[in-house]
Amino acid sequence: MPGAHINSTQLSRIETSLLPIREKDFGYPQARHLLLRAGFGGTDEQIRTLARWGPKAAVDHLLDYTDIPAQADPPDAFDSNIIRPRSQAEQREIRRARQNGDEDTLARFRTMRQQAQRADRNQMRQIQRWWITRMIQTPRPFEEKMTLFWHGHFATSYRTIEDSYHMYAQNRMFRHYAIGNFADLLRGIIRDPAMLRYLNNNQNRKSSPNENLARELMELFSLGEGNYTERDIKDGAKALTGFTYQDDAFFYNKNNHDNTIKHILGVTGNLDADGFVNAILRSQACAPFICAKLYKFFVADIPTDVKALKGPTRTVVRKMSIMLQQHHYELKPILRRLFLSRHFYDPSVMGTKIKSPAELVVGSIRSLNAPPRNMSIIADAMDKMGQSVFMPPSVKGWDGGRSWINTSTLFVRQNTLVYLLTGRQANRNFVERTNYDPTGLVASMNDPRLDRNPPSELIANELLDLALGHRPAGAAQSLVEAAHKVDQPNTAKGITTMLTLITSMPEYQLC
């Protein structure tokens, strides 16, 4: 398979053009790359189909996903009332119990609260499994990929807010606006109960401002450090006063809102939270910041600081941000342009990005047709790899890139693949019944001309094309030898052996 492996001479000239890739340059490696980055990878058959369609139809298919029917969540998928505010009657009862030293009543309320928290943690685990399953099963992979992007961008953690339904509602909001307008996402996030609680804006009152949301709204969500002043934070916090929530809904408490004149990012007036957002959107730093984040997520592991960007990356991010401004923060046109661009398929871009845990796990199950097995074990493994969905490590989200990889997480990554493919786990002797059938995974196995008996090296090489995107010298031979030690190379066991080995190669961590 030509094209995917990089050598040093190719690196000297990196394509920075956002012009569309030529039809003739779009083959199996490019279609595979597109599916990996704009989705969670594809099967051999899906890759071949997109390659046949050509770049435009392939990108349209991924991006215009609203044309693809998908099952909507039932409205009662999760219980919104596990964590709920206390009713006035309950509050009265507690007050009375406190006054009277009625320890029994107070203890009863404490127990109720603890039970609710336990039930809620349980529901949070269900929601985690629900989302990972959705990523695995969706016919609209780009929708979930963008939802994951926004989750990492507007990072909010259940560990702090302890309300699973708020996390679920936020996830739906991200999915709803996934490739809409960035302005809507900003307006959505300052009304989102999970975020308002996470960054303490429910405690941001005119009488005692809390600057947490105001700071992060600029530092991490829209402009980046250095593009605002401490004064902008102070006055931004004033603009956000009174933005809070009641039970599961946004609530504007105008008694707590500060109506004084504010100066934010060069705009002066009695700004409210939307005025603050508008001031942010006017800033020249906003589009480059968002484009650098998108670039980092979809194209290459780069520093988040826009000013630190160099060379080709700097050029491409600048072009993208000019476009984003021209399109008034509409995201889809910019992403379409990016996924069609020659830059996106440059050899320095393809096969060089470190997979996030979600990309690794979901992508392996999707592209290798692996059985998803026990979702709790999968969710736990992702946590050990450093990506527990709904629980990012901080408001900064996941750093991504090399920070995913260390000796510890590398073992977890390899061993999760061992588990998916063979049902075996590092620290347990219990073996899950293997129902993995990889016979027919790649084209040669389905080729009638080969009479279901393709040459072993061809199978190994096609497995390498699918899983790694290239064929390291000598690899096929070693794989075939290993398969022979376990079974024949064209049986389920033989192919499982080869895949277990391929997925434990360091290159498998790249996409």
Partner: protein, 438 residues
């Protein structure tokens, strides 16, 4: 992709050499891989523990603990006689019944939860450096953490320990890898946890990180033992042409580190500690570190962390609980080191990315602040207080003004404990505070 960073393929050569040497040693019946065991002469006797060799600080070990989230220094080391403290913290000031008064002549007390640390203080094995910070404090967790980890005010670049270790193998060249001079072997620092901390990450040497020993080995052998050799073959095969700073090469190096260190570490931490450790996360981490030290591993820097110090709301109960975990874990670790006979070789340093504001907020918590105390433990520290306590009235925008630069602490650790040249690692000279008694 930057070939000019590495014109002679230095990385590739060293790694290959390193792999070969470890294979050779393994076949010569050594159980500790070359990069962990610095030389055959220094090979310890794990059963008896390491007898310390006076004056030879090649054997010294540094434990770094981060109290993540920004520890409230003022409720840890408490200026309990200061009216301002009580005035600005009407509900959060630690009650007099919950103080551990160290010395009636000193206006400072420890939080009541820190009984273990108090005992160490009384034995002269606890140094408290007051008001540690840096100029133009940054109140972002991430940036300030990066500043502490890199020892650079910009918060960018390689980790300070990473640079030190790079220098050990390759000579000083701040943040860059030079040519290995062969005088030192490579011993990557070890971090307990999922993340490899920036402080330990160098250009040449990356830390080994692991969360639990049971997961620190490839499970493919459980499917078929016969494929393990193919697993190694395939990993090494792809290594041959990787000689640049690409993600590809980074993954190769990490895969190799993982494989080589897996067996040693699992064996070390399987041993039962000599003392009973509490059940907290930090205690478990320190217990594993203790076991690795006891097994005679030549690792010189270990890293552990305790999170949850970002106490914006309803701080009192949670903060006290964290301080108790911290103090109890440290006390158990010091007992372990003494029981092992390794106490004189081990110094522990504890920091947090920042302290918290002097005044409490409206949510019975505290917001991000600036300077805070750094703790150091072990028989070789100069016990007691160092530097000055920052004034609670002469503030900078409501925050404490730092009285000691954190790089002064690093400099002393590097110069006196790690036998390095701090000026070359830190890029400037910082005055020692005489916290170490060596």
């Amino acid at each position: 992709m930057n070939l000019h960073n590495d014109p002679d393929g230095v990385h590739a050569y060293t790694r290959r050499a390193f792999l070969q040497s470890s294979t050779i040693l393994a076949s010569a019946a050594f159980t500790v891989p070359a990069f962990i065991q610095s030389s055959a002469f220094a090979f310890p006797k794990p059963e008896t523990g390491l007898a310390s060799i006076p004056g030879v600080n090649e054997d010294n070990i540094l434990i770094i603990i981060q109290l993540s989230g920004g520890n409230d220094g003022l409720n840890t080391v408490i200026p309990y006689r200061d009216d301002t403290y009580h005035r600005l913290r009407p509900t959060l000031a630690v009650n007099v019944d919950n103080l551990l008064i160290l010395d009636k002549k000193i206006d400072l007390a420890l939080n009541g939860a820190m009984t273990g640390i108090r005992e160490l203080f009384d034995q002269g094995q606890c140094a408290i450096i007051q008001g540690v910070g840096y100029p133009n404090p940054n109140r972002s967790h991430f940036t300030s953490t990066d500043i502490w980890h890199t020892a650079e005010i910009s918060g960018t670049g390689d980790g300070w320990i990473g640079r030190y270790i790079d220098a050990q193998c390759c000579g000083y060249d701040k943040g860059q890898s030079g040519q290995p001079d062969g005088s030192h072997t490579l011993e990557p620092p070890i971090a307990i946890g999922r993340e490899a901390p920036l402080a330990l990450s160098g250009r040449h040497m990356m830390p080994v990180a692991f969360e639990s020993p049971g997961l620190f080995e490839w499970a493919g052998g459980k499917f078929s033992k016969e494929i393990i050799e193919h697993h190694q073959q395939l990993t090494d095969m792809s290594h041959e042409h990787a000689n640049d700073d690409s993600n590809h090469n980074f993954l190769m190096r990490t895969a190799m580190d993982a494989r080589v260190s897996s067996a040693t570490i699992r064996k070390a931490v399987a041993a039962k500690p000599l003392v009973q450790y509490p059940g907290s996360s930090l205690a478990k981490q320190l217990s594993m570190i203790g076991s690795m030290i006891r097994a005679g591993m030549k690792t010189r820097v270990y890293y552990a962390s305790l999170g949850g110090f970002d106490t914006h709301a309803n701080q009192a109960g949670g903060h006290t609980r964290l301080l108790r975990q911290f103090s109890d874990a440290i006390a158990a670790f010091q007992k372990d080191m003494t029981a092992q006979g390794n106490a004189d070789r081990v110094t522990t340093m504890c920091f947090s990315e920042f302290g918290r504001r002097v005044g409490q907020n409206a949510s019975n918590g505290t917001d991000h602040g600036t300077a805070a105390p750094v703790f150091m433990f072990g028989p070789k520290v100069q016990g007691g207080f160092h530097s000055r306590h920052p004034s609670l009235t002469n503030l900078d925008n409501g925050d404490l003004k730092y009285t000691a630069d954190f790089r002064s602490v690093y400099a002393e650790v590097l110069d006196k404990w790690m036998s390095a040249k701090s000026r070359n690692v830190l890029g400037a000279s910082f005055k020692h505070l005489r916290v170490l008694n060596v």
